[in-house]
Symmetry: C2
Subunit: 213 residues, 2 copies
């Protein structure tokens, strides 16, 4: 195309790369890693399989980039709620779980791909790091809550593992696909469970007498 690589060409390449990543993310979210062949994602992005290698040295590199982008987005959102959100640590924890769960349910396919779906080993490595960051975020706010005397003493890492594990577990099971109205109830139950798990009083306060109705 270009005699020398002009800015216009550079931009077009960059745009094509972005589109490839976006479309590949869609394919992964809709059909899973297993069906995201080079040919399939290339077709979704409107390019040939060969052209993919103009942008990425290997399929694994593309997969990792797809994962990183989506995972980073989730971590950022969760981190904002947990760290810079409003309220005390317990309130932020409740908000965090709610956001985590709600986002996962809204983009179920993507959440599945990020959290549990089998993928190539390069992605598995990223996933481990990703889950660990998630847990650290939860653990941090639990630690704050303990320090503030709002939560009983506990191992924040274990509690954090339980929190993310609970959401993941519910996502794994396709039968748990909730009806429209049910999703809200499920998120609320999950949040309540998370608060109990950390040892906090239920959200609907005046907790002392109402706890065991």
């Amino acid at each position: 195309m270009a005699y020398r690589r002009t800015p216009a060409v550079h931009d077009r390449l960059r745009a094509a790369r972005e589109r490839l990543i976006d479309r590949a993310t869609d394919v992964v979210a809709e059909t899973g890693w297993g069906n995201a062949s080079v040919t399939a994602v290339a077709a979704a992005a409107g390019m040939s399989a060969g052209s993919v290698y103009q942008h990425f040295p290997s399929k694994a590199a593309l997969a990792v980039e797809v994962f990183r982008r989506a995972a980073a987005r989730e971590v950022e959102v969760l981190g904002e709620v947990l760290r810079e959100g409003a309220g005390d640590p317990v309130e932020r924890l409740a908000d965090g779980v709610t956001v985590f769960a709600r986002r996962a349910m809204e983009r179920r396919g993507l959440a599945h791909a990020l959290l549990v779906a089998p993928a190539e080993s390069a992605v598995d490595v990223e996933r481990l790091a990703f889950r660990r960051r998630y847990r650290q975020l939860f653990a941090e706010v639990v630690r704050e809550g303990v320090a503030a005397g709002l939560l009983p003493r506990q191992d924040p890492e274990v509690t954090a593992a339980a929190l993310s594990g609970a959401v993941g577990e519910i996502l794994v099971d396709p039968l748990a696909e909730p009806a429209d109205g049910d999703a809200d109830r499920l998120v609320a139950e999950l949040t309540a469970c998370a608060l109990r798990c950390a040892g906090a009083a239920p959200l609907t306060s005046a907790p002392r007498d109402r706890r065991f109705p």
Copy 2:
């Protein structure tokens, strides 16, 4: 071999089939599903790859049988503790989580294969059913606890998901491989977390002195 299948031949075939399943289970526990090729499990069982197909119509069928046997054993053990164990529902829940976690840590490789390790899709289907049974067992005892007034009102399914999710989550992360003495502490923390999760531990900031001194 026999012209017509005599009882002796029948017994020998049956024994070979059992040995094949047992050795294949070992291979899966030690090296994961990915390395459990037909050749590898056949070698471990002391037979040729071709002979495997005397006993199973496909590799997937063998894998499913391996999974079912091991999973059924775990479900049985957990079910015994949760259903026929000693004590009230809360005590049985604590025992169940402890047993679940301890067994998983003792046979980490097998637990990983059963709970989370990537496997062929036929096994994934079994895994879903297996995790569901696990959750049902937990949910049942939680339901009992609620009915008995020992636990606050909650969705037992969600709580059960959190319980098994927490153990699974901790197993997923290889970094969490605990030192010898640490495993006990981890199991204890997990059990405490599980009790809180079900609402059995103190929920307010006024903890009982005995539990959180």
